[in-house]
């Protein structure tokens, strides 16, 4: 069984967590790892349905996601959590519980996140229509020692994914790319070899 691990994306809304986590999941699947993504927005429609945005409810939500990540991790899955997870204490709680935990901070200035405003929620929060909105009317506590910092306002999606992959390689959660895969030319050579032997 492969060694499992959790990659935990944290950052403001619209800071790129979902985009990079989906790209990371695709890349890990290409390397034939078993991958599961727990996206905060999705989790709030099922696992944490009914929870609100008070500190208590936010903490419960993050602990629930962390618990599922822990189960997946101990079963050899690459678990990816992507949620604002604004409070340092709860992120650190998940780190202690899961152990094989890689924290990725999607660092993006609030003004850029507001510009992006994919869901139109910043606009509502700034107009006072939504309460407890992280970055506007609720705090966001930056990680002190994240394994990876992504500057998503300066990097391309591919660069960000590459940074996470390199860290996972460095921590030996995944083997280096050169050892895992054939180049296209090499794969063709091997397919031809197998075909000549009647093995394809």
């Amino acid at each position: 069984m492969e060694k499992g691990f959790t990659v935990w994306f944290t950052g403001l809304s619209c800071s790129g967590k979902t985009t990079v986590s989906q790209g990371l999941a695709d890349e890990l699947r290409k390397r034939r790892l078993k991958v599961e993504v727990l996206d905060g927005d999705v989790v709030r429609t099922n696992l944490s349905k009914g929870l609100g945005f008070s500190k208590e409810d936010r903490d419960t939500n993050i602990k629930r996601i962390g618990f599922v990540c822990k189960l997946l991790t101990r079963n050899g899955v690459a678990a990816i959590g992507a949620a604002i997870s604004p409070y340092r204490e709860i992120r650190d709680y998940n780190r202690r519980e899961i152990k094989d935990f890689v924290e990725v901070y999607c660092k993006c200035p609030l003004e850029i996140c507001i510009e992006r405003d994919v869901k139109g929620l910043y606009k509502k929060a700034l107009a006072g229509e939504i309460a407890n909105y992280t970055g506007v009317s609720d705090p966001y506590e930056e990680p002190l020692n994240p394994e990876v910092v992504l500057e998503t306002d300066k990097e391309t999606k591919e660069q960000s994914i590459g940074k996470v992959i390199r860290k996972l390689e460095e921590l030996r959660y995944i083997p280096p790319a050169e050892a895992t895969s054939y180049t296209e030319e090499e794969e063709e050579t091997i397919k031809q070899r197998l075909s000549d032997l009647g093995y394809l």
């Binding site: 083997p175 050892a179 895992t180 009647g198 093995y199």
Partner: protein, 436 residues
């Protein structure tokens, strides 16, 4: 010291011994036991050697063939050592603090870390990437080491193919003796792939007594016999020699295209007219096949194009395909093609059970099951004249008695046997049983 002779049948060794053609083998048999051994299903080198090196069934080690598919995307890929789950014999020996040298075993590419040297086998396409540690590659290049003989040559000129096969073996022996004599080791494994290659293209000719290539076939086996003698003489008296093969061989009458049959019987449909891979199967398909004889139900929720529902429809489809396969006949001779069909629960267990085929068809000797997708006929007679058999592999242990009768044990049992002989604890999750 373990020598793997790929695809060499017990019956061939016995036959040539009886004719007095293998003097070094005869000498080895004066102090050791040679037994007939079972292989694994499906009976191909990648599955058999993965089973050997892990001591586990494919449901645990996750290698089911030279090619596999990702059910979620239906992407086809070549399983490598990265896909093989569990520790190998040489990784366990390494962890026990002993030093290993491993040369040319299938499914060891990309090379995984060992305490010693590992040179991977023919699934490596680039000699720069062949070895652990990497630096060994430079030495191999200097020696003119060859990864594998070029099987394409055999389809053009058997003479050139034989020349290539001899040279590849000689280069491998040069490298092997370099490490055998120059390195400190507690465990050494040499794999000779060339015998499998020879058998695929010359077995039928030898069997039929071909005047030109029959003697060439024998000459090659006598060369291997001489190599075994050289190696045996180079070993000190404390070193135990083990020789094994992973499967047997027999003459091939025809290649059989199971996907053609599935399509003809209405189980398989393609999107478009010229399917390139299993990615092109139509959602209405009920089943498809990968080489050799692996049949998968097109299961909803597993295959990306899956439509068969679990469990009732799945069981019905699987049962019907199984039954129908047993009735497949050679259109020319009327002979049966499929001897037996196993369900996966009859063969596999473990964490990777779900990744295995739903059915495994075992052909009658002479009919080699292929996974081609776009064939116009059920059968084909081409340049391949030999095929693998399940029950005719062998195991030889010098100065040791295999405590099982012929065919009462399998390739899975060799790894715990070696660990026991070396005094290294056998991990609890190993499926095989020590034979000594």
């Amino acid at each position: 010291m373990v020598i793997g002779l790929d695809g060499v049948p017990f019956s061939l060794i016995k036959g040539l011994l009886a004719e007095g053609k293998l003097p070094n083998w005869a000498q080895l048999l004066e102090s050791g036991s040679l037994k007939r051994m079972n292989s694994v299903h499906p009976c191909v080198s990648s599955v058999a050697w993965a089973t050997y090196m892990t001591g586990k069934n494919p449901g645990k080690h996750n290698i089911y063939g030279f090619v596999d598919r990702q059910p979620g995307s239906m992407d086809v890929y070549i399983p490598t050592s990265r896909d093989m789950a569990g520790k190998t014999l040489w990784e366990i020996i390494s962890q026990a603090g002993k030093r290993v040298v491993v040369i040319n075993v299938p499914v060891t590419f990309p090379p995984r870390e060992v305490n010693g040297i590992l040179i991977s086998g023919f699934l490596c396409a680039n000699i720069d990437k062949i070895a652990y540690p990497k630096e060994v590659a430079g030495l191999l290049k200097e020696m003119g080491y060859r990864i594998d003989a070029d099987a394409w040559q055999a389809r053009k000129s058997l003479d050139k193919f034989l020349e290539d096969l001899h040279l590849t073996l000689e280069k491998r022996m040069e490298a092997m003796f370099h490490f055998l004599e120059g390195e400190t080791w507690d465990f050494f494994q040499l794999h000779i792939m060339e015998t499998d290659r020879l058998n695929h293209f010359l077995w039928g000719l030898w069997e039929q007594g071909d005047a030109q290539y029959g003697p060439e076939f024998l000459k090659y086996y006598q060369k291997i016999d001489a190599i075994l003698g050289h190696i045996n003489n180079a070993l000190d008296s404390d070193t135990r020699l083990i020789i094994l093969s992973d499967h047997g061989f027999c003459g091939m009458k025809k290649e059989v295209f199971l996907n053609h049959w599935l399509q003809r019987e209405g189980w398989l449909k393609f999107r478009g007219k010229a399917p390139k891979s299993v990615k092109d199967i139509h959602q209405e398909s009920k089943a498809y096949s990968l080489i050799p004889g692996r049949v998968y139900v097109n299961l909803a929720g597993r295959e990306s194009s899956g439509s068969v529902r679990f469990p009732d429809e799945y069981e019905r489809v699987r049962g019907e395909v199984r039954e129908a396969m047993l009735g497949i006949r050679d259109p020319d001779s009327g002979e049966r093609i499929i001897e037996r069909v196993f369900t996966r629960e009859e063969l596999y267990h473990g964490p990777h059970y779900d990744d295995g085929p739903d059915l495994v068809a075992i052909p009658c000797n002479g009919y080699d099951l292929k996974g081609n997708l776009d064939e116009k006929e059920l059968t084909y007679k081409g340049p391949l004249v030999g095929m693998h058999t399940f029950d005719d592999a062998f195991l030889y242990i010098k100065e040791g008695e295999v405590r099982k009768e012929d065919n009462q044990f399998g390739v899975m049992d060799v790894m715990p046997t070696i660990l026991k002989l070396m005094g290294v604890p056998i991990p609890e999750d190993v499926d095989g049983q020590p034979l000594v």
